[in-house]
Amino acid sequence: MSLHALTIHELRRKLHTGEVSARQVTQSVLDRIAAVDSKVKGYLWLNAADALAQADAIDRSGAARNGKALAGVPVAIKDVINVAGQPCTCASKILQGYVSPYDAFVTKRLREAGAVLLGRTNMDEFAMGSSTENSSWGTTRNPWDLERIPGGSSGGSAAVVAADEAIAALGSDTGGSIRQPASLCGCVGLKPTYGLVSRFGLVAFASSLDQIGPFTKDVTDAAILLNVIAGHDAQDSTSVPRAVPDYTAVLGKDIKGLRIGLPKEYFIPGMDREVEACVRAAVAALAKRGAEIVEVSLPHTEYAVAVYYLIATAEASANLARFDGVRYGLRVRGEDVIDTYGKTRGQGFGPEVKRRIMLGTYALSAGYYDAYYVRAQKVRTLIRRDFEAAFKKCDVIATPTSPEVAFKAGEKSGDPLKMYLSDIFTISCNLAGNCGISVPCGFVRGLPVGLQILGDAFAEEKVLQVARAYEQVTNWYKERPRI
């Protein structure tokens, strides 16, 4: 089997014993990218010479023999996370030409662990979207069917992992932007609990919802990568100071007697029946391993999309105010400074970003603040309480990640509301601040389906334990697209 097709834990064994070098692994991944990325279009920026130089430095340092967690493992990074010396455009014209002066916290952690930072992956502009069609630099394709989208907003990261163009990748998840593309591309995607992974160096979209997390080929790799990126950081005031366990320690642990909640609100009319069947079969497989299945209710689920699109856009309208053509990025000169702001932002932002800034600005504006923004925050409380009540009855919750498989490019791009509703099963987790993972659980019409396992805040160990237990009885996660 080619090196690029292996997982982190498979490669680690070879790298640590010196059977292969970081350069060989990196070269294998670069060859794979050269062979397929013209079809997948997952990368926005790649510097092969720089990647090989990093690999050589790792080989010289002996980091692999010393057992560093990611020594010699090529990792791709979503274009919203800063890597010093590499571009960071958030797939937006307004940041064309921007080069990061510093490393994000997670980037620093990856470097310390010996990872090779391969390049930048495509995304919806400023992480706003569910298909990667909102990128200013073109749409990424789903490796399982190149006419279809990979999901979003971290579509590039999901697609390159699924297509073996990276051993693993990082993305960000504000309303499902890791889990939904992982589901649609057939890889593993984990959204950590809010506050577990530092957001320092992640370009902010909606600060109370954003989290960075891993895309991997299996659950073991997700735990390995989480071990590297989790932990307190004084540079992020929402980073929670608490001890981080070894997330790999729970893998393989028996799930006998563990209670898995099935929320009736997540199995709804209108969702793809075959997707539902895959997810129910996955739950049955977990029951067969001794888990206890209990029915739970998350009664405010139907309000989550409305809450999300008020809160996330309101926060975005404030966060994106910094893109004004003064300190970085595009500047379009106007008659005066206000005119310059308007022209710069009018020409620099794409349609979805403008739409969301407009919605968020409106929701925060005088006379509407209480009716929209504050009411949404109150309903957010009700959604959190739903989860608190549910987690008294169960250890984790199992649901479909997405109500459907990957759709065709262009199918929803004319109707923003329809696109927003594709996040219906992932959004509540961000609003509540909890964690969740998507793992492959079958195929419908040749396209991957994801099982979502949701956990309470800081219950990553339980989520990973159940996800790994599921992998042990199925082989869906081993399927790879033929491109």
Partner: protein, 94 residues
């Protein structure tokens, strides 16, 4: 539901929109705002708003200046216009 004054909101957001964009965005936001009306079905009397999900409050650190370890030039290089260690921007006051 009140009609949105698209020009006013665009001005607040500091985004210059073309007439075609205004028409399109106004129509789309109308649909979205009609959808979020469903939040009015709920009684939220006495419910505290959630601004963020962490249990942290007032995270403080000593107010000390520290070097960032990053060369100033690297920040300035990303600016559309800079000179003498400063960002150059359009005139604000006459």
């Amino acid at each position: 539901m009140p009609e949105m004054n698209i020009d006013h909101v665009a001005h607040l957001a500091r985004i210059e929109l073309t007439d075609a964009e205004k028409q399109k965005i106004a129509a789309q936001l109308k649909d979205i705002l009609a959808y979020v009306e469903k939040l009015n079905q709920l009684d939220v009397t006495g419910v505290e708003p959630t601004a963020h999900a962490t249990p942290l409050h007032n995270v403080l650190r000593p107010d000390e200046a520290k070097p960032s370890g990053i060369d100033r030039e690297q920040f300035l290089r990303n600016a559309p216009e800079h000179a003498r260690d400063l960002f150059i921007m359009p005139k604000i006051v006459e």
